[in-house]
Point group: C2
DNA sequence: CTTAAACAGTTTAAGCTTGAAGTATTTTTG
DNA sequence: CAAAAATACTTCAAGCTTAAACTGTTTAAG
């Protein structure tokens, strides 16, 4: 990765090579984003497995349920987690097998079922959640308040822009 | 997600609840980072599959080989991609099966083998690489040069901090 | 030299994830 | 009301990924 060359050079490259300005910089940004997230994610996954006997996706599902004491349907969980229905089916089965999650029938719609945390699941999730927050703080904690706030804002900008680009794709 | 409350409030919370300052903000930052990357990555994976008949990890492996015309050992690829040896074994097998990658014996060490792109693999990778760069530019391209540069720098800060934290874990 | 250790790569079992196809149920439409 | 469409969920095949155990080869130690 070469350092940022600045706009003047980029424009010169554009004129000479016909490459739209910023493509290479966008790529560099993306690769750095990806590798940073992968670095953190790999460590978090490792700790979930070794220290808590669970996995990140199972934790994510339980986090959804923890926020909704009345329970959620599999479909709603699928939408909120942005994963496929089949994925939720499998994760739910493994959590039910562990006694951390329960299935409950819908009152009138026999296709639908609600998932809720069991009391034990709620207790276990509390500990997992606290550990998770501690881990992230440990890994990120030496970032200044100012940098953290800027980064948070800029990621918001990126997310919005990406969503726009994805919407335009279907027009 | 609530808006940032600022340092004063955070310190007050710390005093009252015993939670180290910034834990919650770190968590929010991490979740935003993760969801942003997942959003982009899912789209890129989809396009690799639908438009190019390959996958992101296969592309990543070929990108390593494209940079090293003399070839790389499986172990070196594993280190550079930061994935397990067994993973590289499988990806390499599928790329060899497609005729995009070749295995070559080491001159003296019979344990070792080099991987290189075949001529056809090099051609195919060129097109894939151009498409990939275009896609990222399309998704990221409306971000201002200024924001892009800030984000790149801040991610560098995070990456450095995370690496430091991971090193300290083993002391 | 011989043995032990290190190294390169493979295999395996387990879990995650997806898209596509399939089942059962409910809702909509004519 | 009957047929068609939509919905909720499950199953399946395929691919990615890992950790751990394993094979074969080379290097280091004694």
């Amino acid at each position: 990765m070469t350092p940022d060359d600045g706009p003047a050079v980029v424009d010169l490259e554009t004129a000479l090579a016909g490459t739209p300005a910023g493509d290479k910089e966008d790529l560099r940004l993306w690769l750095r984003m990806l590798s940073t997230v992968n670095l953190v994610e790999a460590e978090i996954r490792r700790r979930f497995r070794e220290q808590l006997g669970t996995t990140l996706p199972r934790f994510d599902l339980m986090a959804q349920l923890d926020r909704e004491p009345d329970g959620l349907t599999l479909g709603e969980i699928s939408r909120r987690m942005m994963v496929s229905n089949g994925n939720v089916t499998g994760l739910a089965a493994s959590l039910v097998a562990d006694g951390w999650v329960e299935r409950r029938a819908h009152a009138t719609d026999r296709r639908t079922q609600y998932l809720t945390l069991t009391p034990h699941g709620r207790f276990v999730f509390g500990r997992q959640s606290a550990a998770h927050e501690r881990w992230i703080a440990e890994l990120f904690g030496r970032i200044s308040h100012r940098d953290r706030a800027s980064l948070y804002r800029l990621l918001g900008v990126v997310k919005t822009r990406v969503r726009q680009a994805l919407e335009e794709e279907f027009e």
